[in-house]
Symmetry: C2
Subunit: 493 residues, 2 copies
Amino acid sequence: MAKELKDLTKRADNYSQWYNELVVKADLAEQSAVRGCMVIKPYGYAIWEKMQRQLDDMFKATGHVNAYFPLLIPKSFLSREADHVEGFAKECAVVTHYRLKTDPDGQGVVVDPAARLEEELIIRPTSETIIWNTYRNWIKSYRDLPILCNQWANVLRWEMRTRLFLRTAEFLWQEGHTAHATKEEALEEAKRMLNVYADFAEKFMAVPVIKGVKSANERFAGALDTFTIEAMMQDGKALQSGTSHFLGQNFAKAFDVKFINKNNELEYVWATSWGVSTRLMGALIMTHSDDNGLVLPPRLAPIQVVIVPVYKSLDQLAEIDAKVAPIVEKLKAMGISVKYDNADNKRPGFKFADYELKGVPVRLVLGARDIEKGTIEVMRRDTLEKSEASIEGIEAHVAALLDEIQENIYAKALKFREEKTTTVETYEEFKEKIEEGGFILAHWDGTPETEEKIKDETKATIRCIPLDGDKTPGKCMVTGKPSAQRVIFARSY
Amino acid sequence: MAKELKDLTKRADNYSQWYNELVVKADLAEQSAVRGCMVIKPYGYAIWEKMQRQLDDMFKATGHVNAYFPLLIPKSFLSREADHVEGFAKECAVVTHYRLKTDPDGQGVVVDPAARLEEELIIRPTSETIIWNTYRNWIKSYRDLPILCNQWANVLRWEMRTRLFLRTAEFLWQEGHTAHATKEEALEEAKRMLNVYADFAEKFMAVPVIKGVKSANERFAGALDTFTIEAMMQDGKALQSGTSHFLGQNFAKAFDVKFINKNNELEYVWATSWGVSTRLMGALIMTHSDDNGLVLPPRLAPIQVVIVPVYKSLDQLAEIDAKVAPIVEKLKAMGISVKYDNADNKRPGFKFADYELKGVPVRLVLGARDIEKGTIEVMRRDTLEKSEASIEGIEAHVAALLDEIQENIYAKALKFREEKTTTVETYEEFKEKIEEGGFILAHWDGTPETEEKIKDETKATIRCIPLDGDKTPGKCMVTGKPSAQRVIFARSY
C-alpha cells in the first residue's frame, strides 16, 4: 500500500489520471466485466450508505415516503412524452428475450428465438414513465394529492465514455416523483428539494454549491424547468451534482393522469422529479482529496478516527491496548466511528500511508513513551498537521477536531471556488479566461443559439442561471443584446 | 375503506384470494404494467425498510460489509458452472441491444438493429457468477480472506406464474457472498447466516421457523448444501423463507479463484451465499393476518400505535389534541412510532377499519368523556380486544402491550404449527394426512427417486431435513429402506 501510494499520480501532473487511480487505489470502485458498469467496493459503498442514510432522513423530514417501481419499462411508454423519448430512448439497454437454451451446436447457452417478447422492455434510464403510468390509478381527487414518493434504485444509460462514479452505464441513485394539485405547489416542491440537495452537499459533503436554473439546452428531457446544484472541482471544471425538475403537466398528459380539483373540475396533475446519484461520490472525491489520497468529510467518513499503536514488544502492545480500550469505548458512546488497528502483521508506517490514502479524518498514534508522558499524537488528514494532546480528555478533543475539519474543508473548497470565479465583460476576455478553468460570470442574451455558439467555440456551457446573488441586467457578451442577469459558464464533467 | 374491508374474502372461503386481495387493499403492493413485476407501495415498502434495516444491522454485527455488483451479467458467465446454468439460464431476461431509434415507418421507437451487442447480457437472477469473476482479482493470499460481502439489490427471474411478493419476476433481496480459506470456515459461515435468518424471522417477524438442510432435489443450483428456514402459513403450506448455501469450491473453480494458503500452496477458495427477499413480506402477511386485514408484529410495524380522537365539536377536538400531544411526545421519546390521526374529513369508524386493515398493533381512542374520567380506550390488533386504561402512565402501558403482542402472535403461530405437524409411519397415512395440510414428519430413504415419487403422487416435497429435534433412525415409509432421521414433508409455495 505504501508503494501504491507512492505511485499515485499528482494532481498537477494529470488531474484526470489522479482521479482514476485514486478511486481504485483507495478501494472505492473498479471496472467490472460488463462495459461501463462498475463494482462499488465495500469502502466506497460504506461512504455511499452514509450519504443514503442522511439523504433519506432529509427526505422523510420533508414528508416523503419510499416506494419501489419496476426495473423494466415497456418500450412504448418512452414514446409517450415527446421530449423525454428524444432524451432517453437512444441510450437504452433493450430486453428482447426471456429465455436462454442450451446451444444445440455445442457448449454453453444461446438466446432461445422462441422466447421473443411481443413488446421489448427497456431497463429504466429514469422512471417518470412507469411511475406516471402507475399514478393514473392512484389519483382520482385532490384528496389523493400530493403524492410524495421517492425510490432508491439502479438505473442504466448506455453511455459511450464512462468513468468510475462520474459517468457509468449502470448507476445507483434516488429519484423522487411527486404529484400535486397546483402548479405553485409543484414548483415549491421542486425548489424545496433543490434546497435539500444544497444543504446536504454543503453540510455533509462539505462541497459548496451554486443553486440555479438550467438554460433550455441543458434541461431534463420532459421538464419545464430544471433546477441544479453545481460544484467546482479542483481542476476548475463544474460538476452537476443534483437536479430537481418542475415537469408541469407533461407526464400527466402523456399518461392521462387527471384529478377532480376543489372546484369539481377535471384537471391534469402537476409533477416534479429530482435525483442525486453515485456521481456524488465523484464530487466528494474531486473536491477535497490531495496527492496523498482521499480527504473525507468527517460526517461521511466510514471510519472517523483510527488509532495506531507503536510498540517494540508484545508487552508494550498489551499496555497500549489497555490504555486505548476506554478511549474507543468513549468515542463510540459519543457516536464517533473509531477503528483501533493493532494488527501485528503490518508496520505502523504502512498503516499511516493506508489510512491517509483512505482519507480517515483523524489519526491517533500511541506509543509506550506517550503513555508515560500522558500524551497522544494527533494527526488531522485535511492539513496533515501533527500535534500532541493529553490522553485525558482526548475524546472531546477529537470530537471538536472532527467538527473543525468538517468546517475547514468546506471553507477551503469555498475559497478555492471564489478565487476561481471570474466576472468578464467581453467575449474576448471570456475565451482567454475559460482556458484557465473555473466559473465565469457573464451576460448572455438568453437564446439557445448564442449558448450553442459559445459551446462550439469554447467547450463551455451555461452551468446555471444562479438563483442567488447579483441580478443586475446587462448586455450579452457575444451579441450585445439585453441580458436579464449574469449566468455561470464553465467546462464541465 | 370500510366498504373495502367488508369486501375482503374470508380465509376459510378462499385463502389464496384472501391473500391476493389483502396485499392490494392494505396498500402493500400491486401489479405493474410489466408482466410479473410489482409496484411496492409506500406502506408495503415501509415494512420492507424496517426488515432491511434490522437485517443489515445483524449482518454488520456478524462482520459483513455491503458492496454493489453489476445488474448485467455476460451470457457466457452463466455457463461456467454446470449446475448453475441448468438452474438459472432458462428463465432470464436477455439484453440484446443498446439503442432504440425513431421508427422510420411512423411514430414511436424501434430497436436499432445496428446496436446489437456482441455478447448478450443477462439481468442477474442471482450474482454468484459476476461476483466470483470479481473476487478473482481480490484474492491472492490467505491474508485476503475471508471476504464477507453482502449486496442489497433487485434480481429478475422470468417466472411463469407470479403472485405479489411470493413469486414475482423482479424482486428485491439481499445476497451475501463470502469467500473463505477453509471448508470448515465456509460451512460455519453458511450455518451462522442460517441462524441469523432464523433469529430475524422469530424475533422480529414473529414467524417460527424450522432450520434444516435441503435434499439434493431442492438444493440451490451450484451448491453442495443448502440450509433453509421453513415457515408454515395459515393454510398449512410451507413457505421457504431464507436459504444459506455452502458452495464448496464450485464457483472458485468455475472462475479460477485461487489463493496461496498458509502452507504456501495454491488452493481454490471456499464459498457461501445466502439470501432473503421481499418474499418475506408474503410470509409475514400469511402467518399473522386475519379476516379483518393485516396483523403486523410490533417490531416491524411502520405505525405501532395510532391515536384516534372521538369528538362532537371542534372545541372538544382542541381539548383532545391538547391531551394527546404529550402522549405522542413521550411515545416518540421511547422510540415508539405513533400516528395521531385527527383528520377532520374521515369518521372514526372509517379510521378504525382502515387501521385494522393496515395491521397497526395498538389503537388508542380518546373522547371528551374519557378525558373527564382520566381514561383512554386501548384496542390490540392481534386479539381485537378492547380495554380501558388510565391516561396517566399510558405510555408504559402501550410499550408493555407492544411487547406482549409481539410475543403473543409468535406463540399463536408456533401453537398453530405444532398442531398442524403430524408424525406418520406409513405412506398410506401420509397420503391421507397431506390432504389436511401442515407439516408431516416421516422417514425417507434419502434417494431422489423416492422423493420424486412422493412429489408426483402427493404434490408434497421435502421441505428440509431438520437440524434440531428427533434424530432417531427408522425405515422409509415408501421403500422400507433405512432412514437416518425423519424429514419434513409439506406442500409449499
